[in-house]
């Protein structure tokens, strides 16, 4: 296998409220021998909110981000479910609608860019599974996670809408019974925990507008994992992570019961099994303390 190379779209949270996610992404990439070239020109994807205000502007900005992966001739890798959804959705819409693509390219021409549609866009979770392979990861494990019951939390924007999502990765994922994170946990030697909320919403996107709904969803997710006897949760999405890791007080209030547990980013979980140090994985940044390492 030649060296895997990707254009990394970090998204905003990795640079701000989840620095541990960026650290652990690079730490894991190094252990696996994956080269990540950061798309330093990229802007925010609009997080599905800019789209509510100005759909066309969000298409232009996302198309611009993709242009920079295209100019490097690389597949774009995202590390946030919502970045993945908005970027892949933009690609999908532009690729199937030449008229829309022409309108977007007319704008991009003002800054000397052109969207062609030549780069694939995939989440780091699927890049690892599809391109590196679970068997290869299994061979790299130095500290199997065998003593842990781990609750996977998939995050909506990696699994729905499945028609779009399954265009972006080879391993088919069913949103009603997803398996990628479970498979990864097993490959790392851990015990995957099954619970009803693993493919449900964390509430992040309604945090400001509908705080009660958002807190109840977070609470239900934490409760589901706790009741299934999980030691900790793991998620590929920094937005889910923010909600589950930092919002336990509001969540506990909403569900009428104390809910709190350590929540790891997918990259941190892989890093732990591959022998990265807690500092390399940024575990000190968590609000719900990671007390088992």
């Amino acid at each position: 296998m030649g060296k895997l190379q990707y254009a990394l779209f970090t998204g905003c949270t990795a640079k701000e409220s989840t620095p541990e996610q960026l650290k652990s992404t690079y730490a894991v990439a190094e252990k696996l021998g994956i080269e990540l070239i950061e798309l330093s020109e990229a802007s925010c994807c609009g997080a599905s909110h800019l789209q509510d205000y100005d759909d066309f502007l969000s298409l232009v900005l996302n198309a611009r981000n993709i242009c920079y992966a295209e100019s490097r001739g690389m597949t774009m890798v995202t590390i946030c479910n919502t970045c993945q959804l908005n970027t892949a959705m933009t690609k999908h819409r532009l690729d199937k609608d030449p008229e829309l693509k022409a309108r977007v390219n007319e704008k991009l021409a003002e800054v000397g860019l052109e969207y062609k549609g030549t780069s694939e866009i995939t989440h780091f979770l699927y890049a690892i599974i599809d391109d590196f392979g679970l068997d290869a990861i299994r061979e790299k494990v130095v500290t199997p996670l065998s003593q842990f019951n781990i609750a996977p939390f998939y995050g909506c924007h990696n699994i729905r809408p499945s028609e779009l999502q399954n265009e972006t990765h080879r391993s088919a994922e069913n949103p009603y019974n997803p398996n990628s994170l479970d498979d990864l946990i097993i490959a790392l030697g851990g015990v995957n925990v099954d619970y009803e909320e693993k493919n449900k919403c964390c509430g992040f996107h309604a945090e400001l507008q509908a705080p009660k709904t958002a807190a109840a969803l977070t609470g239900k997710a934490l409760m589901g994992a706790m009741d299934a006897n999980a030691d900790w949760m793991v998620t590929p999405c920094p937005l889910c992570h923010l909600k589950l890791d930092t919002q336990y007080e509001h969540a506990s209030h909403a569900v009428g019961r104390d809910v709190k547990m350590p929540v790891l980013h997918m990259q941190q979980m892989v890093g732990l099994a591959l022998g990265c140090t807690p500092a390399e994985l940024g575990l000190e940044h968590h609000v719900s303390d990671v007390d088992f390492v």
């Binding site: 802007s43 800019l50 509510d52 205000y53 400001l208 507008q209």
Partner: protein, 327 residues
């Protein structure tokens, strides 16, 4: 050429409940051999005809048109007449759980009280509102381009699959829900409709309207007619901005705040977005405690350290030239 018929032994756990006589619902097990030619409805019929005549469920057309037989299989909303049974066995294994669309609304077995679903439809005036000339001299023509604006919104069969898969409907009984939003969009997008702002104001009501959508895409995933309700919800957001009539200032500013931040930094200034959306004092009251904890853990970037995208001038140019909305 038809493929050869395969069979499989499946255990069905079927939700049973009679609101008039049962204190709690229970699950009854049926073991059956299922063939690759059967849909879920065939199984329901076999349970009723071969095992228990009192088993109750709604069904009518058997062709995915009437919307009566919506229910859930292992948590997945579907029409019983649409989904092949062995496809579901392949997805969920050979233990299949059959439940009503909404357990808390169960009346008898798979039959639910859909009252709330219809009330939400009433709320958004699901009909064409127009001053009709009673003695027209020519037909009121709608061009193909104009009718395309409805997208697939007109195809809704009101089965309730999206409504009862929506996590917000489950938690907030005031939430209008994806099906009624689709219906609202269907009339808002109709060139003949004259209700416009009245209906949009209803659709934008705080704690009931489109701003409470959590963007989970459950509705888009579940819809048996592939109507993609969240796409119509986004369009309603856009229409509310175009009409300038939002009732929910926090949500509205939250969406607009992204454009401001992107123009300034390329990236989103997270703290500033919260402040811009809610105002400084409400932000401190609501998020002060969590914000402080995050700060001590190195999760808050100060304004003077805010990272910026490279080639920010390109982003500024594009925001200026491509903006189609005004706030």
């Amino acid at each position: 050429m038809s493929e050869s018929i395969t069979t499989k032994n499946v255990t069905f756990k079927v939700f049973r409940f009679n609101k008039d006589t049962d204190y709690l619902p229970y699950y009854k097990e049926y073991k059956m051999e299922v063939t690759s030619e059967e849909v879920v409805l065939d199984i329901l019929n076999r349970i009723k005809w071969e095992h228990d005549g009192s088993f109750s469920y709604r069904r009518s057309c058997r062709h995915g048109i009437c919307g009566a037989c919506a229910m859930k299989v292992n948590g997945k909303g579907t029409l019983a007449c649409k989904e092949n049974m062995l496809d579901l066995v392949e997805l969920f294994g050979d233990e299949i759980v059959i439940e009503p669309s909404s357990i808390k609304r169960a009346v008898k077995d798979l039959i639910i009280d859909k009252g709330d679903f219809w009330e939400k439809h009433d709320q958004i005036q699901p009909y064409l509102i127009s001053e009709i000339d009673e003695h027209p001299e020519m037909e009121c023509a709608v061009s193909p381009e104009e009718s395309e604006r409805l997208l697939e919104a007109d195809l809704c069969i009101q089965c309730g699959a999206c409504h009862y898969s929506c996590p917000v409907v489950e938690l907030n009984e005031d939430f209008i829900g994806p099906a009624a939003f689709v219906k609202a969009y269907r009339f808002e997008a109709d060139v003949r409709d004259e209700a416009h702002n009245a209906r949009l104001e209803e659709v934008g009501l705080p704690s009931q309207g489109v701003w409470d959508c959590v963007k989970c895409y459950e509705c888009a995933e579940v819809c048996p007619k592939e109507i993609n309700p969240i796409e119509k919800i986004t369009k309603l957001h856009n229409m509310i901005f175009d009409a300038g009539i939002s009732n929910n200032k926090v949500a509205e500013r939250h969406a607009v705040g992204f454009a401001h931040s992107i123009k300034k930094h390329g990236l989103l200034d997270e703290a500033e977005l919260v402040r811009y959306s809610e105002g400084t004092v409400p932000m401190l009251v609501k998020h002060g405690k969590v914000g402080f904890k995050m700060f001590t853990k190195g999760k808050v970037v100060m304004p003077w350290n805010m990272p910026k995208s490279d080639k920010l001038d390109e982003i500024k140019t594009l925001v200026k030239s491509s903006m189609t909305s005004k706030y």
